[in-house]
């Protein structure tokens, strides 16, 4: 098992190196001249050249690539052109909003997704199962931003129960959660649908196993059967859960835009619009690191929670 975990980790490190190199290439492929953008309008050619030298953009590509890795390993993501301060501090300012939203949405989708999936799988063919199937089918087909519109119209405009858009700069946790509720529900519905669908399939697989028949024939109560089924079905969900959780750090982009939440997503969009490429690069690096990291953790967790995998 240790050996497997080690190979896994080496493989992840290689992937990470390839991906970060891809990010370097992608950032150089973005349209526009960083030095000219930094200089602004009405800048003399000589000044632009000076800025280019300062940024190190006049050096050979390979030297820039080396410098890029040097910076990365020191945890330095460069400076924002628009805000004239380190990218790390820009990210740190916006990260809490996105992280709270992602955590809120993920908790909701886990609770609803696994709950519904287990229920539907245990009561195959029932009305509950049918309703769950309808929910998962529709939930997956709804465009996130449009779902946001519907929730805004119903709960914010008609009922006045939640704010339409915005997020308080200050305020206690209750107020913040109140502002995050509709965005989190918007994000959670398609993800819960996805999780419920897979949970149901895994539960059905587990229910068909012979140990379930044995347990039933010796008179184990339904609750006990559910426990056995869950222990066998749930570790198989980890890869999907990791994809969903890791994707949320940028998966919030659309919803942040709909609800006007000042998180990483809005920062990324604004930076793309303003050609503030150091910030685009910083957010991208953070997003892929989290995504790869979470998936790697899920692989290890699956190994720990499913002993059968250790012998494969």
């Amino acid at each position: 098992m240790l050996r497997f975990a080690l190979t896994q980790t080496v493989s992840v490190t290689i992937t990470m190196a390839v991906v970060l190199s891809l990010v370097f290439v992608a950032m150089r492929a973005l349209p526009g001249d960083a030095a000219a953008i930094l200089g602004g309008l009405d800048t003399e050619q000589a000044q632009v050249e000076a800025i280019r030298r300062d940024l190190g953009l006049d050096r050979p590509l390979l030297a820039q690539y080396g410098a890029y890795w040097g910076q990365l390993l020191r945890g330095d993501l460069g400076s924002s052109i628009r805000e004239r301060r380190p990218v790390t501090s820009v990210i740190m300012d916006r990260l809490p909003v996105t992280l709270s939203l992602a955590a809120f949405a993920f908790t909701l989708s886990l609770a609803v997704g696994i709950g519904l999936g287990m229920l539907a799988g245990r009561t195959r063919g029932s009305a509950t199962d049918g309703t769950t199937l309808a929910f998962t089918t529709v939930g997956l087909a709804l465009p996130e931003f449009w779902l946001g519109f519907l929730l805004i119209l119903l709960f914010a405009v008609q009922l006045g129960a939640f704010p339409v858009i915005g997020y308080p700069v200050e305020g206690d946790i209750g107020v913040r959660l109140w502002h995050l509720t509709l965005p989190a529900v918007t994000l959670a519905i398609p993800r819960a649908a996805q999780i419920a669908r897979l949970t149901r399939a895994r539960v059905l697989e587990a229910m068909a196993a012979e140990y379930v028949r044995t347990a039933r024939s010796k008179g184990v109560a339904p609750r006990g059967v559910t426990r056995h089924v869950a222990a066998n079905a749930l570790p198989g969900l980890l890869p999907l859960l990791a994809l969903e959780l890791g994707g949320l750090i940028t998966g919030t982009i659309v919803v942040e835009q709909v609800f006007g939440l000042p998180g990483l997503g809005l920062t990324l969009l604004g930076s793309i619009g303003a050609r503030d490429y150091p910030v685009v690069q910083g957010v991208t690096i953070l997003a892929v690191t989290v995504y790869i990291g979470v998936n790697w953790l899920a692989d290890l967790l699956q190994l720990v929670s499913d002993p059968r995998l250790r012998f494969e």
Binding site: A141, P143, F149, V157, Q257, Y291
Partner: protein
Amino acid sequence: MNRARIGTLLATLIVASALVGPLLVPHDPIRPNYLVRYAAPSAEHWLGTDGLGRDVLARSLAGGRVSLAITLGATALAVLLGLATGLAAAGLRGLTDVVLTRGFDALLAFPGFLLVLLLVTILGGGVWQTVLALGVAGSPLFFRLVRAYTRSELRRDYVLAGTALGASRARLLFRHALPNFLGALAVQAASTAATFLLVEASLSFLGLGVPLPTPSWGNVLQDARSYLTRQPWAAMGPGLVLATAALSLQFLSDGFRDRLDRASR
């Protein structure tokens, strides 16, 4: 009625409305008409008009053409890229296989929406650019699928028999192995198309996909966002059609899978 039938029916309705609809609505989807801004639904404008006085129904129908064409093009591109590279990796093995597999793994290591977003930013917004970005971002999935299926098919006895009879490598790949998993590809392609439809709408909603004034379901809904509380109906029509289109593709995918499962039994 089974899912495949419902899916086919809905998809046909939506494609037909996108093809024929714009011919039946007597309003220009692009030219502004400032005399009738923000009109409520009426016999003249079924879904009302937007902030530039353009008929929302006309824009939704014309937008459907653009959104559906992008989805179709991007799905075809993703499948073709996946087929070409997947068959090459499984057929040639060796270094080709290692390089292709590592490369696509690196693409898969990006959160999907972020990858599309970066590609569209690099390529610049537009219909063709969106098709290219979606197609490239979607190709790793098809690469993996095609590579895995081809490898398992190539291990079968009929391939050995074919080789013994002197069939060429290309003939074995294209004439014998490929037809055996086209069904599985169709299942994935329909499901991917549903995702692409929603992603394209999100991109255009963010102003990064189809540039204005060309309508697409995403940017028609972006317009509707700005006067959502005043005219909710402008967001309802196109949104419902978009969701129905995605649903029909998902149904088609499920229907294909059911048919495959029955056939293999």
